[in-house]
């Protein structure tokens, strides 16, 4: 079963990679992609040549207007439907749909990988850092599919989700992988299932919330006229208001789960170590994340704080989560040193 799990991990990584390529293809061939732009630009130039003899040239057909790009699936093609680029978005949409299908396949392989691991170890499959990363990234993928199901026009974000999944699973498979072993006595408690499951769910949801928040910042930066690299992705993501609301709802959903994870951890710590809170590095960083996300929710609820400022606090929150997952496990020793590294 352990071997099955390892093979399914490879399948999952490759599928996420394929999904990523499909999303990238959608970008490239989409109506705002480089190909479409080149095509419309050519068309515009052709028209310019036609009209060169008499009257002013028609330069403004070059599609840089963000107004039509509020929805990725907006039917109208900038620059007019008479351009040769018209059939291209169909191919792009096909690539986008294929990406979603492949993402579903990848998530299923991902789930299979976790289940097989759990069967092989005869316990919940999150007893060390490798398994924890696998579980968190699966929740991230599942949360993403739920979001996609409810708001299909967010599909473009899939590129970043797939990218994150490939990176996380790649790190897990190459750096963190450990053979299947039973739990050590300290972890052998039903609180493992409660505490770590809650932490996994909260982290996975925060992950998707982070992606939505980052996209919002890119989009709102673009809307304010910034054109440097990350902001140049702006026209390809949905309207900033919708993204911001999505990011908030994901964080508001994850925050109580995270609170519960910390509480369950404290109850377990009381039974295992004799105190419910001892400022162990993991506990400290869980506390820091909690405080930062609480700050985000408060800032979000305060009208005088700009939404982009609030979202930056959420980004900071995700940085503290990453610090807790990687920094604390790899560089700090404490009671939570079960990473299996």
């Amino acid at each position: 079963m352990a071997a099955v799990s390892d093979q399914l991990l490879v399948v999952a990584i490759l599928s996420y990679l394929v999904a990523m390529v499909c999303h990238a293809a959608e970008y490239a061939f989409g109506m705002h992609g480089a190909v479409a732009r080149a095509a419309t630009r050519q068309a515009a130039r052709a028209r310019e040549l036609v009209t060169a003899g008499g009257g002013p040239s028609v330069v403004e057909t070059v599609p840089d207007a963000p107004s039509a790009s509020d929805l990725p699936d907006a039917p109208e093609v900038p620059g007019g439907s008479d351009t040769p680029a018209a059939p291209v978005p169909d191919r792009a949409r096909l690539a986008g749909r294929a990406a979603v299908v492949v993402t579903v396949i990848a998530a299923l392989a991902h789930l299979g990988c976790l289940v097989a691991r759990g069967i092989a170890a005869d316990r919940v499959p999150w007893g060390n850092m490798y398994e924890f990363v696998l579980a968190v990234s699966f929740v991230g993928a599942a949360a993403w599919l739920v979001v996609l199901f409810r708001w299909p026009n967010l599909r473009h974000l899939g590129l970043f989700v797939a990218l994150t999944e490939v990176v996380l699973l790649g790190i897990a498979g190459m750096v963190l992988a450990t053979p299947v072993v039973p739990l050590e006595p300290a972890l052998n408690s039903y609180w493992l299932a409660v505490h770590v499951t809650a932490a996994v769910f909260a982290s996975g949801t925060f992950l998707v919330g982070f992606v939505a928040g980052a996209m919002y910042l890119i989009r709102s930066g673009y809307e304010q006229g910034k054109r440097r690299f990350p902001y140049s992705l702006g026209p390809r993501v949905p309207k900033s208001e919708a993204l911001e609301r999505l990011a908030f709802r994901l964080h508001a959903f994850a925050f109580p789960i995270w609170t519960f994870a910390v509480i369950a951890g404290a109850i377990w710590a009381e039974a295992a170590w004799g105190r419910y809170w001892g400022w162990d590095p993991k506990e400290t960083w869980a506390f820091i994340s909690w405080v930062v996300y609480a700050g985000y929710l408060h800032a979000r609820a305060t009208p005088s704080v700009r939404r982009s400022t609030a979202t930056w606090i959420a980004m900071l929150g995700w940085a503290t989560m990453l610090m807790n997952l990687f920094g604390v496990n790899l560089f700090m020793s404490g009671f939570h040193s079960y990473s299996g590294l």
């Binding site: 072993v181 400022w279 700090m332």
Partner: protein, 551 residues
Amino acid sequence: MPAADDAGRNPSRSALSVDTRPEVAPAVPPPPRRAGPGSRLLALARNSWRQLTSMRTALVLLFLLAVAAIPGSVLPQRNINADKVNQYFIDHPDLAPVLDRLRAFDVFASPWFSAIYLLLFTSLLGCIVPRLRDHVRALRRMPPDAPRRLDRLPQHAAAVEREGEPAAVADGLRAMLRRRGVWPGWRAVVRRHDDGTLTVSAEKGYLKETGNLLFHISLVAVLVGVAYGSWYGWHGNRLVVAGPDTAFCNTLQQYDDYGLGPRIDAGSLPGFCVELTDFRASYLDNGQAESYTAVASVSGPDVPDRTGVEFSVNDPLRLPGANVYLLGHGYAPILRYTDRFGQSQTAVVPFLASDAMLTSEGVAAFPDANVDPATGERDPLQQVAFEGLYLPTTPDDPSVGRSAFPAERNPGLLLWAYRGDLGMDAGIPDSVYRLNQSAIDAGRLKRVGDMKLLRVGESMTLDDGTKVEFLGTRPYAAVSIRHDPGERIVLGSVVLLLVGLMLSLTGKRRRIWFRVSPSTTPGSSMIEAGGLPRTDYPGFADEFRSIVRKE
């Protein structure tokens, strides 16, 4: 009433204001010219208080709290691992004293960390007390009357005609709203106006603010529980070797280290004794531990006598007034030393494990060896000690000095003998797991002979004819005995905190008004409706439409 009226008249603003904390501290009007120093001081105090309780300040304090916690995870902390702090002092002799003066090794007990959270909690109280008052008032009052122009509200349904006298229609609307939705439904009231119209005012979502207040009050309760626990709690740690002669009782003298809350005195600890009767450990083939179980007998005046009680890593021994936690375990070799006068002494010495295979190090000291039984005279240079390395499973090549497995499959004890002045009489506290290095350096304590590997039952004879025997081992357990009376307060508070959090994040405060006026057709009424979401609630339009369609 002003807040409610404001909400009714200025929907665009109040729809946004989710939180009623002042966004920025409002400026206090300048004091009158003839104000004395007293009133100026009062104005300053009032201004500072407003500043402190503003949302901006609370956010800054939250952020500061997060930042202040970081050094606590990066630098070693005394309350977690004092040895690491000492090591840090050795590694960074210049930096460490400076950091220490900043209390960087006791971050969570430092004045600056306390200052941040105390200010934060003061700010919190300054915010929730007025909000609590307002909320209680709002709960006791009926929803405010409809604004004059319902069409100015974010949701509006133009007047339609319905059959029935206005009074009956309004009562019907009120009943419909009260029944609607999950408990507790809408709070609704009918008001009769002089011009013959009636208004139905309804509000829902009070639980959001209730949850919000519950969350914040619970936070204060958590802090109270933590403070109570640290005042009246206590803990002690020690190693307990298995056997009736090595049992211990719950007094501070018997602990290796302990901590006592400031409001509790040593005499009030519950009286009980614990004897470790057995210790069972099981391991996988690769040496990874699978389970540990300690078996103990408990007796004493303050707890019922029990024998054969088991406790393990995730399952502490819970006694009235104290819990016994199993934190670690190891082996204690038993050594019998027979001195030159033929006097034998036996020592059971816990050795500390230095790796996962339980390779253990320790020292057996016999400071009272070679005392002439006839004269009672003691030669201070004839004290004896043995430095040992215990290998529960001795590898084929014992000189590796590492155990091959944590269980005692092939026990062996590597011993080095020392004779001379152990340096224990100087009264300087020293580790019981190591020999006094300064005595060795000064040549007062000398090694005798070579290292020898002893199996159970074997002995080693020193150059002066004295003999040491390795009789076997006993398991020991490292236990922590703790009592924290604040735990229950904290647990109860965090449960309420979670409930409050979920209510406040999912709740939606909103108001609906109907204006029912007599129609030109006798026996009919005109109904106009308006709705106002008081919190960020994108689904309100749908809800409003479905309610209006029902009426």
